[in-house]
Symmetry: C2
Subunit: 711 residues, 2 copies
């Protein structure tokens, strides 16, 4: 049947009945190429009449051309044809080697992945040039040009250039081989291991397109709590099939490696990293992997952490383990991403343990090892101070690990824009001469090998991320991984324009709502530097009263230490002194409650309930006031969204409205359960005018949640 | 790389469309309303210019109108408007109470769910009438009218009437509360329990539309291996939310009930069905359920089967257990579907045990109990003789349980059209005076309460069923549940016309392929009445050698009994005598190898390898010949499909091609592994001209499959 008929039928279906395949279900993500309309559409047509290829044909160039044709067809209503030479209104894709005479491009600035976009006169014709040194650069340039068109840039005066500041921009999938996703709230794993390698879901291509549009250039397919099976021949063939789909989009495949694989698969008696047989086994395994996947990226490893095997099982240290794998990958150009998320079951402050184990190893790691450090020292809380390892291991490349999936921030039902959290971490001054961003991008200590990782929030849900707004967190991770100095607000503006609406008033209203959302979740879950207050297992609802878990440092009571006398974890010299792990200037500031920002106060200090806050309130009153502010902000987000009804398609507007109603109810649950508990320990009356919790403490304690996702 | 280019080609093709909505990904199922084109389209337009409602407005009528508008918009290119009175070319929806004068409708024949479609002159206008006694009848009539249009009926001479022959037409979802689907091969469960009841996936509506289009009027939401949690207030609220979505589509919600719930939820010491406190608990629970779901359908129960709790734990029988639940549901009009799939771990023939336990209870069940019997006495094998209970319990309504999901027939990767299997069972003569269909539709023994159940093959995969062709099994189940006398071939023709193509040559070629597919899987997996040859746990590949499982009757060797002397299970008087459970005429026929159809030969007889078959071959040669025929048929299916490239959209043609290639390879795996094993026990040479297995037996035995879906 013809395209015209198809389009007509679909248009009618869309007009008649929302909720069908052609509806606004969010599947298109930010690659949503709807007609621009009006002058912008005419302008785009005039600037994309045809495509000229001044570059060798490769699968990556094919991908760029396919995306440009798809995008222009959607945005301008007509797909550009290929043209042999630069005619007026042509879109010229040029790489250096075949660049036509007269191109004015700063090639050396662009590197391997950068691009330039320029409107210029070429051979007498007014054209737009997308230039890069490589086909991957052209692909990124093509997506950037489409983004400019989607976000309302003046396409007649386009002059942009960009190159990524971080080398490895990676998604970490905590996906198990049975398709369960640990801490996944968007359905099952995209990877249908059973049907691979033969059957390739077309969705794999859309996944690659979405990532390439952000500059993400690598993906770790399997959970860091890894099964050795992923390193067997059948699973390597499956991974190779995915690598084949992703390759044209500049995305390399990585695997989480189980440290004990030589025992489980190789039948060896040991996995001791200094044992020659073990080293030989890993070298042979690496050779086997590269035969299947010539551009394999490398290994991600969780070792001696939360029960995972590792070098310490054999009296060796993390450097011994990482360097053994590095040695096996080195001949092939692979890297090892070795996670620093460790905490031994000893009695010291859990927040201090990763530093204690890793900092002394600075300089001991092989050149192709990157130590991957979570943004904070505990575990992806609504707010944590930056991890003290950043800046403290100058001889070691450090990767920043961010969690895109919202394990502790309301799963996929709460609207929380993480761009703000990511930006806060990246722009934090380490006190070692630069920000976390400067550590991660390698400029502070001149490391050529750099990486940033995000724990994916992607699953089989039709909208990819479990909710429409969680797509923004995937997007923000990718944009900030490419440019750690980007503004979270600007990134949000681009996402909204690409995803929801280009109308400035509506776009800005949505951006305001997003920018308010992160502080809101901090307020209604863990204000004033509190952390780890969630209930056991599911990590969804409040459980500040939990004090009965196997390990002391799994209990919320361990972290808030609330009692009659006050609340907070003393990490100063009078306590665990974890604050001393920070650079002196920072340590001095955070060691004194008077100079510690209120946002981090109870992270570092145990203070009496009557402690006077800058606001003039007591700590007790401030705590309750912040819980209330969180709920009020969520209510306000709901009002802002309701006012946008006319600007958003009915399906997505109604869907987000429902989610915001759930969030408003659950923000009250968090507020009331926490206030009820803290009041039970403080014994203090509620400040005047504060409504008491809706239910008594026992009722909140009695709530149980079986079958929570992501367990 | 070919896959990449194929996908890129598709991407380029789709770049001509706004968005990705037009992808032929199978989501639309058989409700795929593409423009008819040509005369048919003009004819449909002329016959559906407007909609006239001669019926009270109800949500179900709204659903019918929405579907007709959607369908006509897609098929004819223009949605009909509502019109106050019968104008020429109107589509008149009429229920008896408000039927306009001059309607010629056999109301009494239609019952509560039937409909009539007639082109006639009404008030001087040439109109099409969709008539029914109820709004559900109108909805079914609307779908039937659309199906007529999709399948190329002459809409100018339309004169159809239909009413379902079976009362309860139910899907059984073996879906767990954590979204894992037992024996599910199409992704995760559609039911997002965590987000329910607040968040309703629009897909729930499409699920209801698809089922209503087939006449399916009930769905059991949770696995028969049930958790008591599904009966708690939070989960009842979630089930009620789904019931609210399904209600306008005439679909009632049912739940699998865990027999020990009074202990697990009620804190009682016992779940003894004769204990007054237990009976009271169930009555109160039923009252609670009906407060949440006023039209709740009832309970499905798996008791004293494979470790599930049941009345026998308390020395009671199945009737005691079923009647207790029936008593609780009776005041609300609910029913109990009590499964007869039981086999005690004793030494008798497993195939004889369900009959032994249930037949003596005939007449002991309450009027609102239906005993649900699988099609065969073992467990959904590629071929089984009909279950001996059919016809043997004349005083008890028996439901037929079919498995739509292909647990033992290649999951969702092998193309096997189950309409043929379903038809074979329904048309089997029980020897008790009628076919299985007559037992199930209640006519043989005048039971007013009738039911047929299908274990769903539906999941979150975009194509719903894991493959394009597995959609046909859902469709065939629904159509045969409505009319157990329907022809599987005709049902296949309708499905292909609605789903793939109306072109007669291509349609018939696809139907031929489908009709050949079931015999093919019997041949390459379990020919000549062999059964239960699959490997342990995953049930996917061959494991005829398995003999080490905890229970004797879990071992393939228990079922085929192959040795030097011969092969097959002697179920005659010289063996288990299970054949005596059939009516005398059938039992006589199947007790003698000479009168037993070859398809069932080794189900009932243990015969020497040299046994002479009607074909003139020895049993050994026949066995090998049938394995070969199965592979040849699959190869032929692949050739037939390849020849249809021009008739099918590129995405689905390429997808099915890939699946058929996997099936061809795995059919060889089954053939070769089984022949290698049977040769190792028979010690016989392969017949002349037969190629030896590709690998030796040890290689097939060594294959392991971790992480198979559906475990």
């Amino acid at each position: 049947m013809t395209t015209i008929f198809r389009t007509l039928g679909l248009a009618l279906l869309m007009a008649l009945l929302p909720g069908w395949a052609a509806a606004e279900d969010g599947y298109e993500l930010w690659l949503r190429y709807r007609p621009l309309g009006g002058a912008a559409q005419a302008q785009l047509q005039a600037g994309a009449r045809s495509l000229v290829l001044a570059t060798p044909a490769t699968p990556t160039v094919d991908a760029a051309v396919a995306e440009l044709r798809r995008g222009v067809a959607g945005l301008a209503g007509r797909a550009p044809a290929l043209s042999p030479r630069a005619v007026p209104g042509a879109l010229v894709l040029a790489t250096r080697a075949q660049a036509p005479a007269g191109l004015d491009v700063p090639w050396d600035e662009l590197g391997d992945e950068g691009y330039a976009l320029r409107r210029q006169t070429l051979q007498g014709a007014d054209v737009t040039v997308i230039a890069a040194n490589t086909d991957r650069g052209l692909l990124y340039g093509a997506f950037a040009w489409l983004r400019a068109a989607q976000t309302g840039a003046d396409m007649r005066r386009l002059d942009q250039r960009a190159a990524p500041k971080v080398g490895l921009r990676l998604l970490n999938h905590w996906d198990n081989l049975d398709r369960h996703v640990e801490r996944g709230y968007a359905g099952a794993s995209l990877w249908d291991w059973w049907k691979l390698p033969d059957i390739l879901d077309p969705r794999y291509v859309d996944y690659a397109r979405a990532n390439a549009s952000l500059g993400i250039n690598g993906t770790v397919l399997n959970n860091v709590n890894a099964k050795a099976d992923s390193l067997t021949a059948p699973y390597l063939a499956k991974a190779a099939a995915l690598a084949g789909v992703f390759r044209p989009y500049g995305i390399k495949v990585y695997l989480s490696a189980r440290f004990s694989a030589p025992v489980e698969l190789g039948g060896l008696k040991t996995a001791d990293p200094l044992d020659p047989a073990v080293r030989a086994w890993w070298r042979a395994k690496a050779d086997e992997i590269y035969r299947a996947i010539p551009d394999f990226g490398g290994f991600l490893v969780k070792a001696n952490s939360e029960g995972q095997p590792g070098p310490q099982d054999y009296g060796r240290n993390h450097a011994d383990g990482a360097n053994m794998l590095a040695e096996a990958l080195q001949p092939h150009g692979g890297v090892v991403l070795w996670r620093a998320f460790v905490y031994s079951p000893d009695a010291t402050d859990r927040a201090a343990q990763a530093y204690a184990e890793f900092q002394p190893l600075d300089g001991r790691f092989a050149p192709n090892v990157i130590v991957q450090v979570k943004n904070g020292a505990i575990d992806f809380q609504p707010r944590e101070p930056f991890h003290p390892l950043f800046g403290a291991m100058p001889k070691t490349p450090l990767a920043l690990e961010l969690q895109i999936t919202k394990e502790y921030l309301g799963f996929s039902t709460h609207l929380v824009y993480l761009g703000s959290l990511f930006e806060e971490v990246l722009k934090a001054d380490t006190g070692h001469g630069g920000t976390v961003a400067r550590v991660v991008d390698g400029r502070l200590n001149q490391h050529p090998l750099t990486a940033i990782a995000g724990v994916a929030n992607i699953g089989t849900d039709r909208n990819w991320s479990g909710s429409q707004f969680d797509q923004a967190n995937w997007y923000a991770f990718g944009r900030l991984a490419w440019d750690p100095d980007a503004s979270a607000a600007q990134v949000a503006r681009d996402w909204v324009a690409q995803t929801f609406t280009r109308r400035a008033a509506a776009r800005d209203a949505i951006v305001e709502l997003m920018l308010a959302s992160r502080e809101a979740v901090v307020d209604y879950m863990t204000p004033l530097g509190l952390h780890h207050l969630m209930d056991t297992g599911h990590h969804y609802g409040p459980g500040p009263w939990v004090n009965n878990l196997e390990r002391a440092d799994w209990n919320p009571t361990y972290f808030h230490k609330a009692g009659r006398d006050g609340i907070g974890f003393d990490r100063t010299a009078t306590g665990s002194n974890a604050v001393a792990q920070y650079a002196p200037a920072i340590a001095r500031q955070w060691a004194d409650p008077r100079t510690t920002p209120p946002e981090l106060l109870l992270w570092f200090h145990h203070l009496p309930w009557g402690h006077a806050m800058p606001s003039g309130r007591t700590l007790w009153a401030e705590l309750i006031w912040r819980y209330g502010r969180g709920v009020a902000t969520v209510d306000d987000m709901g009002r802002r969204w309701a006012a946008l009804k006319a600007d958003i398609d009915p399906q997505r507007h109604a869907e987000v409205t429902t989610y915001l109603a759930v969030q408003a109810r659950e923000a009250r649950w968090w507020r009331d359960a926490c206030i009820a508990y803290f009041q039970s320990v403080s014994g203090l009356p509620l400040p005047a005018g504060v409504a008491p919790p809706a239910q008594d403490l026992a009722a909140y304690k009695a709530l149980r949640f079986g079958f929570a996702p992501g367990r």
